[in-house]
Symmetry: C2
Subunit: 259 residues, 2 copies
């Protein structure tokens, strides 16, 4: 087990670490409070791409947490942080309306953007949308995708996710997408820049051995696995990823950090 006493910051995954469904994990709010009071920098990081930061904050804090909005970094908001550093962030946003709120300070151009950002837009895909985006890419726009998932499971069966549409645009235009969501190393580096800390001084706490622990370790961070949420012993055994530290739940994090 790695010594965590020199750690200066913590990134927390949300679903499965702070709560499961709409139920907070026992002792989670207290653990976060103690870590923040000790002076460590906190960020709450998630791939969720259907909610704005304001909506996310409302959802989390309704479960008994007290997390300030500036500590939340969703994959779409990581994209906004990335765009903020570009000289011309003119963009076309294929994002849900609520998520667009986190991009309202950027200039938007549908036909001549510098960046096309693709997130979850449900059933809004059409030939004209694909063709306009393809033309923007062949005219030099860069492509950013929140994730590249193939499909998701619903009660009525499988639904095709945005990954295929991203792949289609890459194939037709020859432009490769930058993938922002975890386990992308870009995601962790954007969050680290926001924290102002080097990777080796920050732990990532997650329930996903590959996306959370593997991704953060690739970014040079310390990966902590919790035995809550989607954690299964069998996944951990089958994964090539080895967590630096494993704890039963987030409630055990303060003592693991020597607090």
């Amino acid at each position: 087990m790695k010594d965590l006493t020199a750690i200066k910051g913590v990134m927390f995954d949300l679903d499965g670490v702070l709560y499961v469904g709409s139920q907070a994990i026992d002792g989670a709010a207290e653990a976060i409070e103690r870590i923040r009071k000790s002076g460590l920098t906190c960020r709450f990081v998630t791939n969720t791409s259907t909610l704005s930061l304001a909506s996310l904050q409302k959802k989390i804090n309704a479960m008994g947490f007290d997390i300030p909005q500036h500590e939340i970094i969703s994959a779409p908001y990581a994209t906004a942080l990335y765009l903020k550093r570009q000289s011309d962030p003119t963009c076309r946003l294929l994002l849900a309306d609520d998520v667009k709120k986190d991009f309202d300070h950027f200039p938007v151009s549908d036909l001549a953007p510098k960046y096309v950002v693709i997130g979850d837009i449900g059933d809004a895909w059409s030939y004209s949308l694909m063709n306009e985006t393809f033309n923007a890419l062949t005219n030099g726009a860069k492509l950013i995708a929140i994730h590249k998932n193939r499909f998701w499971q619903t009660e009525s069966g499988l639904q095709m996710d945005i990954g295929g549409f991203v792949e289609a645009l890459e194939y037709a235009s020859g432009v490769k997408a930058m993938i922002i969501g975890k386990p992308s190393v870009d995601f962790f580096h954007i969050a680290l820049t926001d924290m102002g800390l080097p990777p080796h001084q920050v732990v990532m706490v997650g329930d996903d051995i590959d996306a959370d622990v593997g991704g953060s370790q690739k970014a040079g961070m310390v990966g902590v696995l919790v035995r809550t949420g989607k954690y299964r012993q069998s996944y951990t055994d089958a994964s090539p990823v080895k967590p630096d530290v494993t704890i039963d739940s987030i409630a055990d994090l303060p003592s693991a950090l020597g607090l």
Copy 2:
């Protein structure tokens, strides 16, 4: 130059070999007539995927040719020939209405097909069409694509072609498409089966060094390049493909065949 006197059949590419635009190439009709009268089996093969065989025949013969419909094999019709040999050819057809006429003897099922056939459907792509097709594929349907072109040039700019949508479905479902159009070896084998001849007894005559000459050679046939249509000396020099025979135009084919 290869000896062509043992040849029993000829496949002709259409555009650039029989005609350019709407203008027949000098001596083309007479050359075809002479070849057919000598007893060689003829087929006219094309990747065109927006016209039925009846429409194609009308278009060609309006330029002074006299080609029977059963000698024309378009990429969609090659698909129909392939489906005819399957035990359950129940299909979903993403094809232009005119092209669907060549498939009217097949059972059709939109939600539970055994084969999904993708050709040119213009701007009819939508999320629901993609998602239904994706679900058919994850339920075991096979995927056939007429081609996998990335885009095409129009007067108003580039238009995204079906290749991206085929790639999207492959990515999301994990099902690889069978590509039917030239230079696919499958295409030439389907046409050879229709002719009842082995590959080495058939020449392919084309103006495209890669799709026509290279593709047919890979299928075991004899590749003849004509210096009409899209032929350019520079393309030929740059291509790894070496034609078995090169002639100035189709008018020179009878003498090359020893007729």
